[in-house]
């Protein structure tokens, strides 16, 4: 979706404000929100692309005026509701009304460390032929899907050069919609600054982005 989260190249947000000796969390509720999001994710009822799409659904004005973990809180509430794990009445009242799905089991504390260390790679072993070769010139397709996509607007309809082939990965656009992995090659594509930004692009500078076969066409 052409959402407010897709910020690359926008003007007007002001200076970057690094905080000296920044703590990992700025409030107790941020700690809890972070941990609840990961712990609920361990239930396996949604994937990372669904999580991102849930956050992208925030009202644009609210997205820009709320903090990062407020985005996470919004996304978590949406996912729990969509998956039928919490009802609107429960979210409103904070009081459980129905017992949980008996099939679902919370990940116990003694399995958290091993689960984090194992992770879950989005790399796939499917034997899929690459559509593009390293060094090949490509054009990012001019697509504007309503669903989730990882194709930033500032790269659409721009020419780049395939810099490396990362291998076969899960395709987020279908994965976020529960329509499967659609295994395909993922590439790092180099875009010259001048191609993206015209005379403002800076002669020597470039942007690299990770883009899938379905985002690209031969140029």
């Amino acid at each position: 979706m052409n959402g407010i989260h897709d910020l690359g190249g926008m003007h007007g947000f002001g200076p970057i404000a690094p905080e000296p000796d920044e703590p990992v969390f700025h409030a107790e509720w941020e700690r809890r929100c972070f941990a609840l999001t990961l712990a609920a994710g361990f239930l396996g009822r949604w994937n990372i692309d669904m999580s991102r799409f849930a956050r992208e659904g925030m009202d644009p004005g609210h997205y820009l005026t709320s903090s990062y973990y407020e985005h996470w809180l919004y996304g978590l509430e949406v996912l729990l509701h969509e998956q039928g794990l919490l009802s609107a009445a429960e979210l409103e009242s904070g009081v459980p009304r129905a017992s949980a799905d008996g099939e679902l089991r919370a990940l116990p504390a003694d399995r958290v460390e091993a689960t984090l260390l194992a992770g879950g790679s989005a790399r796939l072993t499917d034997a899929v032929v690459a559509k593009f070769q390293v060094g090949e010139r490509v054009l990012v397709r001019n697509l504007h899907p309503h669903g989730h996509t990882r194709m930033p607007r500032y790269l659409r309809w721009r020419y780049g050069i395939v810099d490396r082939d990362h291998g076969v990965f899960v395709f987020p656009d279908t994965h976020a919609a529960g329509r499967g992995n659609k295994p395909q090659h993922l590439y790092s594509v180099r875009f010259e600054g001048g191609e993206l930004w015209g005379p403002q692009g800076g002669g020597r500078d470039a942007v690299y982005a990770d883009l899938w076969d379905d985002y690209l066409e031969a140029a």
Binding site: D6, G8, G9, M10, H11, F13, P15, I16, A17, E19, E22, V24, W29, R31, F34, A35, L36, L38, A39, A40, L43, R52, L64, S67, Y68, L80, L85, L86, L91, G94, P96, R105, A106, P108, A109, V112, L117, A118, G119, S121, A122, R150, M151, P152, Y154, H166, P172, L186, R190, L196, W197, G202, R204, D205, A206, V207, Y208, A209, D210, W212
Partner: protein, 209 residues
Amino acid sequence: MAAPDAHHHHDAPRFSETQLRVKALESLLIEKGLVDAAALDVLIDTYEHKVGPRNGARVVARAWVDPAYKARLLENPSAAIAEFGYTGRQGEDMVVLENTPQVHNMVVCTLCSCYPWPVLGLPPVWYKSAPYRSRVVIEPRAVLREFGVELPPTTEVRVWDSTAEVRYLVLPMRPAGTRDLDEEALAGLVTRDAMIGTGLACTPGEASA
């Protein structure tokens, strides 16, 4: 739970709406058996105290002193980083970008907040905020200047937008005047920002200042 904000007047609400929503969510999920209360504490402790940029600094320092390790790190980054035990969530598929006098790499996620957790921990607020995400791809040198980094015009700046599940770690240049330092002392010169690419590694003088 969070303490009431001491700056508020005594009849102000004790908790913000956001705090109340998080508290309600936590009790609902625990009561329904969907999350384990003790697991929450493990998750918080892991990312608040155990996993952070000191991990990445050890990787960088090893690459500076051990050419064979550096070669492995650039050739097969996930496996080389796993030699330290730094694996898993948000670092499953790593790429390491070497900074040189000719090329300066820096990393962003314009769409959200993608960041290599096993080596850098959780990202700082500025990395996730609109100013950095919007600006670094269109005016990287202006962003670098705000971080106090001025690069010569002959250095090419490459901005890596983490749009997929590949995670990027910048291997900064080893500072001058560090020939006599051991690996541990070198790790003390490697800042988080140097591994994002918005900074350079410290000189020994800067590190002790």
